[in-house]
């Protein structure tokens, strides 16, 4: 599997989007990752570089392991018994291996933000939802809370819609607004990596396009890793796209090269809809 090797024939568009030839700009790097759910070997020898301040999309058919890979980054698998990691995910610039048993899963969750498939706001006010991560860090100063919450809501393109009802229940927002609220909740603590697990799968096309616009802007602030079931979405918002199949990472490249000129036969078949 040579898919993870940075290719030199990146298209002009992709090259202008991100200069990723310089490896010093990697935010994280997955190396030889294997993951087991009990007996099930769910990720097989995955390698994947994640350049800083870019969007990397993971695509592939259901059950291919893309969500499993995403959830390794904040050690969500540690919540359930019987899961096992092998290999490493190196976080830059510190060079820490996220998967090392000596790294507290809590630390990785504090340093990353995650947004789930379905909007899952807490049954609290809009403000308290966004402030949640700050409260976990014992931020008490009102002015700082206000400032951070507003900044996060602005980044999630939600501020104008909710600024007059910050103290109403988050459940009163629409589905799309709830999902952007979840993004704001993840952003309020300035995460190093934002993990999006099919963030638009429960949303209508308009709400979806708002999230996509938001993701496109957000990559200036934060490195984004996004799982999507939607190839067009990857093509629209991602700088890099990786295709996974049966737990293996088949191919990874700049989005334009990946879609226009896939190197692997499997990738091409998937992109043309022959299976998946």
């Amino acid at each position: 599997m040579s898919a993870s090797r940075p290719t030199t024939r990146a298209g002009a568009v992709a090259a202008s989007r991100t200069d990723y030839a310089s490896s010093g700009q990697l935010k994280a790097e997955v190396r030889g990752l294997n993951f087991h759910y009990g007996q099930r070997h769910a990720l097989k020898n995955v390698d994947l570089p994640i350049p800083e301040r870019t969007v990397t999309a993971l695509i592939g058919p259901s059950g291919c392991g893309k969500s499993t890979l995403l959830r390794c980054f904040n050690r969500m698998h540690d919540l359930y018994p019987g899961n096992r990691y092998e290999g490493e995910i190196i976080l830059q610039p510190s060079g820490v291996n996220i998967l090392s048993p000596s790294v507290d899963p809590m630390e990785m969750r504090l340093r990353t933000g995650m947004v789930f498939q379905k909007p899952n706001p807490f049954p609290k006010s809009v403000f308290e939802n966004v402030a949640y991560g700050l409260r976990l860090r014992y931020v008490k100063k009102r002015s700082l809370l206000d400032e951070k919450v507003e900044a996060a809501l602005r980044s999630a393109a939600l501020w104008d819609e909710v600024k007059d009802r910050l103290h109403q229940s988050a459940f009163k927002l629409s589905g799309g607004q709830q999902q952007r609220l979840c993004v704001a909740r993840a952003l309020a603590t300035d995460p190093e990596i934002l993990l999006l697990d099919e963030p638009t799968s429960a949303l209508d096309p308009i709400a979806t396009s708002r999230i996509e616009d938001m993701v496109f802007t957000l990559k200036e602030q934060v490195t984004i890793l996004m799982v999507t079931h939607n190839m067009e979405q990857a093509a629209r918002v991602a700088d890099f796209t990786a295709f996974m199949y049966l737990g293996e990472l088949v191919e990874r490249g700049t989005t334009s090269q990946f879609f226009q000129n896939p190197q692997n036969e499997l990738t091409e078949k998937y992109l043309t809809g022959s299976f998946g």
């Binding site: 904040n74 969500m76 919540l79 018994p81 809590m106 630390e107 969750r109 504090l110 990353t112 933000g113 995650m114 789930f116 379905k118 899952n120 706001p121 807490f122 049954p123 949640y132 991560g133 976990l136 860090r137 459940f171 979840c182 909740r185 993840a186 603590t189």
Partner: protein, 302 residues
């Protein structure tokens, strides 16, 4: 096509037959309660007045009242609730959120399920043997409350576990993904969101406990009590005391049992009146439980 309409007609008939059977079965229960209430009300209602509620028992039926039993029930309920709720909620949180899935946890779970099926008189014997003879406690409100707390513990545990399970996994994951510890998830999410379920379970447990007679008889609550427990308040600092816990007591169902076992019908009217008071208590508590559940369901739609 005639066959199809015949088929539909036959199936609709089946539907109707079951509908009627179901209705009859439902009415058996409702009717029984109605007859019971009516009978109690006929006998007891004339007896319920201020004098009845504020007098101690007496050997004259018309002078007797349920004050000491009422206060006794109240005091025992306070002890029961203060013990069963923290123990039950903590046990439920442990079992749902902390306990590893292994044989030891399974044994605990089976034991809790069995605890709910133990006859209540056994709890009374246990209280007598362990608390009174073993630990040397008096036959007091404290012992009565602790006994009933053990009796209703499984109810609180099961209700709390159900409430915790009703909280979607994605909410837990959202909190953990933000970096919360297990305790923070329990404290700021799971407990607040399951409060409605816990409250309902607690009230149902209390309405079970308030009607219990057997386990209290073994610890000597079947007795003539014409005094009230000492007041928990005092003039000297710290202004409160716990002497009432050590007081002898009786409770409403025992007072009722006491009166019903006498030969004269005057006392039977007293017993019926006591029964009415007890039922009103229970129904009121159930009503509160239903209201709490309704309010919480309105607020938390997952």
């Amino acid at each position: 096509m005639a066959e199809v309409t015949d088929l539909i007609r036959a199936r609709k008939r089946q539907d109707q037959i079951f509908n009627i059977i179901g209705l009859v079965c439902t009415f058996v229960g409702i009717l029984a309660l109605a007859v019971l209430l009516f009978d109690l009300a006929m006998d007891g209602l004339p007896r319920i007045n201020w004098q009845f509620l504020t007098s101690a028992p007496s050997r004259f039926a018309h002078k007797a009242g349920i004050l000491s039993a009422l206060v006794g029930s109240l005091c025992v309920m306070i002890v029961t609730m203060a013990t069963a709720v923290p123990l039950g909620v903590a046990a439920a949180v442990y079992l749902e959120e902390y306990a590893p899935k292994n044989w030891f946890t399974t044994i605990i779970e089976i034991n809790i399920a069995n605890l709910a099926g133990v006859p209540s008189i056994i709890y009374g014997l246990m209280a007598l043997g362990l608390l009174v003879y073993g630990l040397g406690l008096k036959r007091s409100i404290l012992v009565g409350g602790l006994t009933l707390a053990l009796l209703v513990l499984p109810i609180v545990i099961v209700a709390t576990r159900e409430a915790l399970r009703a909280i979607p996994g994605v909410i837990r994951e959202a909190a953990y993904a933000a970096g919360a510890t297990k305790w923070q998830v329990v404290r700021y999410h799971l407990l607040p969101y399951s409060l409605g379920g816990i409250a309902t379970g607690t009230i149902i447990a209390m309405s079970r406990a308030i009607g219990e007679t057997a386990p209290l008889i073994t610890i000597g609550a079947l007795t003539y009590i014409s005094f009230l427990p000492p007041s928990p308040f005092q003039a000297k600092p710290p202004f409160v005391n716990a002497q009432w816990l050590d007081s002898q007591f009786t409770v409403l169902p025992i007072q009722m049992f006491n009166w019903i076992s006498r030969p004269t019908s005057d006392f039977h009217h007293n017993a019926a009146a006591t029964g009415l008071v007890l039922i009103v208590f229970t129904l009121a508590m159930n009503a509160v439980a239903i209201y709490v559940r309704y309010r919480v369901r309105q607020k938390l739609k997952w």
